[in-house]
Chain length 307, copies 2
DNA sequence: TGGGGGCATAAGCTGTCCTTATGAGCGAGG
DNA sequence: CCTCGCTCATAAGGACAGCTTATGCCCCCA
C-alpha cells in the first residue's frame, strides 16, 4: 500500500534497465566538464535537454548521480562508480563503431584490410581506434573471412593488408607475427582443476569432457589438431559467451581463446589451468603480397600491431 | 549528384552511430534463435517490430546483418562479426546493471556489501553477475567508500561483507585475500621502454615524468608510497580512460592498475614494462567482523571470489 | 491443397526526447 | 547595492522512433 510503485525494477531486457548510450555519453561529458550546460553544448543539445536526461537516468537507476550547485555539477560517490561502469560500455561501443565503420567498406577507403575472424573480432577494433587517434582521416575498409579468402584478396590486389591465424604462411605472401592466440583451459574457481599442483597432461585433457564451441569452429579445429585427435565435448555451444557462462556457473572445464576471457580471469570468475605437452599457441600474422610491404596507412596500422 | 545522401556517416556522438541497446539485444536473440519472430517473442515484442528494427539497424550500419529466408534468418558473415562486437557491449551493460542494481541499495537486501572503489569498479560487477547466475533471487546492496568507511559499516553491523584494498587489516575485522591489484607501467608499443632488455629500476621510474591520475587518487597514493617519495607527473589526468588514451597515443609511460588495461594489453595497444625493486602489488581483501564470517549469500559471494 | 511458419508492408498511436521561453539561486565586479 | 554571468529547473509544444494490428506473400510439409 504505502510502498509506491517504484519498488520493483522494470521487467524486460537489459535495455530497459540500462540507460541508453546517449544518456551514458552525456553522463561522461558531465563528469569530464563539471557542468550540465557545458556537457550539453559539447553534445550539441540544449541545457534543459541535458538536465532532463540526467534526471530521468537518476530516476531509472534509483540513485543520485550528480550534485547540482549554482556553480556547476559534480558526481556523487555513487555517480562516480556508475560513470566508471558507463565508461566500459562506451569503450565497447567505440570498438563496435570502429569495426562497423570499417565493415561498411566504402570504396574510397584509403586502407583495405582483410582479416580472419578471431582477429577481426578481438583485436582489430582496438587497432582501428588507435589508428583513428593517430590518423583521424584514414578510412579503413574491412573484409572478414578465413585465411584462404584473405590470401585471395591480397593476391588480387583487393586488399592492402591482411591478418591471418594459422601455422603456415599462404604462398605468395610475406608476413610478420603480430600476436598470439593461445587457447587456454579454464574452470570456475571451485572446480578441482583450479587447485591442481602440476599442469594438466595432454592425455588428461583429451580424455576429459569439455565445454566447447561447436564442431567446425576455429577454436575447436585448433584444439583437435593440438590433441592429435578429437576433443570430447561435455557441452557444445554455439557462442563463446555461452561457453563462458557455462564454465563460470561450474558446469565443467572449457577451452577458449585467451583473448575471450581476459575480463573473467582478472575478476577470477574463471581460473586458467596450465597444460603441458600440447601446443595450444597459434600465431596471428599480418600478411601482404610478397614485395608489396604496406606503405602509408597500412604501415601505420602495422606499426600499431607490432610496436 | 548521383551519390545519394547516405555516404557521410552521421555526425554527432557515438550514440548516433551505434544502435541502441535494445536493437543489439534483439540482434543477439536473432543470432541465438535463428528467427526474427522467435527473437521478437522472446523480447516481448511483435514480429513486425523486430523486422523493422533489424532493418533500420542494417540501414544505420550500412551492412546486411541477417540473411532472411522463408525458413528463418541466419547471420551474414558481417552480421556474425557485428554480433560479436555487440556482445561485448551487452556484457558491459550487464555489469553496469548488476552494479547499479546493488547501488540502488534497497533496505530489504539479503546481502549488504561495502567495498572500496577499485573493487567496486572492476571486480564486483563480475562477481555479482556470477552470483546472480548461481542464486538469482539474492538481492545485494552496495555501498562504496574507502577502507575506513567499509570497516565502520561492518562494525556497526550495517554491512555483511566488505572488500578493502590496502596492506593492513582494520582492527576488529577478519579477512582473506581475494585478488591483487598490481600497478603496472605501460607505454605505447613504439616507446623505447617497450624494447628494453632488463626491467626498469625504481630510480628510473621515480625520475621519469609519467602520465598519472591526479594527486589524491588511489593509484597515485600507492605509487608514491612504493617509490618512497613523489612520482613526477608528465601529465595529470582525472580519469583512468584519459590516462590510457594518452599512453596509447604515445605521449609517454603511464602507471595504471593492471585491472584497467587488460584489453589494451591483449590487443597490444599498450605494452607492460617490468619494474624491479618496487612493490606495486596491493592485496585486495574480503573482510568481515571478527567472529562473524559470512553465511548464506555472503558465503556464496565469498566463494566466488576465492575459489 | 490446405496449414503453419517465416518475413514484409501499411496505417495509426504513443511516448520519448528535443526545442524555445522563462524563472530563480549564487558569486563577482562596477 | 545592483547587475551581469554563470549555474540549474520548469513548462509547453513539436518531431520522430518504435510499437501495434492487420494484412499479404512465399515456402515447405502433411
Amino acid at each position: 500500500m504505502s510502498e509506491g510503485g517504484d519498488e520493483a525494477y522494470p521487467r524486460g531486457g537489459l535495455a530497459h534497465r540500462v540507460p541508453d548510450l546517449g544518456a551514458l555519453e552525456l553522463l561522461l561529458a558531465v563528469a569530464r566538464l563539471g557542468s550540465l550546460g557545458r556537457a550539453a553544448r559539447e553534445l550539441g543539445i540544449t541545457q534543459p535537454a541535458a538536465s532532463s536526461r540526467i534526471r530521468s537516468m537518476e530516476r531509472q537507476l534509483g540513485v543520485a548521480l550528480v550534485d547540482r550547485s549554482p556553480r556547476g555539477s559534480r558526481l556523487t560517490d555513487a555517480g562516480a562508480l556508475v560513470t566508471d561502469w558507463a565508461r566500459r560500455i562506451m569503450e565497447a561501443a567505440e570498438a563496435f563503431d570502429a569495426g562497423a565503420q570499417a565493415l561498411r567498406g566504402r570504396r574510397d577507403s584509403r586502407l583495405r584490410v582483410a582479416a580472419s575472424m578471431t582477429i577481426a573480432e578481438y583485436l582489430l577494433p582496438g587497432w582501428l581506434i588507435a589508428l583513428r587517434a593517430l590518423r583521424p582521416d584514414t578510412a579503413v575498409s574491412l573484409l572478414a573471412g578465413n585465411s584462404a579468402a584473405v590470401a585471395e584478396r591480397l593476391l588480387a590486389d583487393e586488399a592492402d593488408l591482411g591478418f591471418v591465424e594459422g601455422l603456415s604462411l599462404p604462398a605468395g605472401l610475406d608476413g610478420a607475427v603480430v600476436a598470439h592466440d593461445r587457447l587456454i583451459v579454464v574452470t570456475a574457481p571451485g572446480h578441482p582443476w583450479a587447485r591442481r599442483r602440476g599442469p594438466l597432461s595432454a592425455g588428461e585433457l583429451a580424455s576429459t569432457p569439455l565445454i566447447l564451441r561447436e564442431e567446425g569452429s576455429g577454436t575447436r579445429q585448433v584444439l583437435n589438431a593440438a590433441l592429435g585427435g578429437l576433443a570430447r565435448p561435455l557441452l557444445e555451444l554455439s557462442s563463446t559467451t555461452a561457453v563462458k557462462a557455462s564454465a563460470v556457473s561450474g558446469a565443467g572445464p572449457a577451452v577458449l581463446s585467451e583473448l575471450a576471457v581476459g575480463e573473467e580471469l582478472a575478476s577470477r570468475r574463471l581460473v586458467s589451468v596450465p597444460v603441458e605437452g600440447v601446443r595450444l599457441d597459434r600465431e596471428l600474422r599480418a600478411v601482404w603480397r610478397t614485395g608489396h610491404r604496406p606503405t602509408g596507412p597500412g604501415r601505420e596500422l602495422l606499426g600499431l600491431t607490432r610496436g
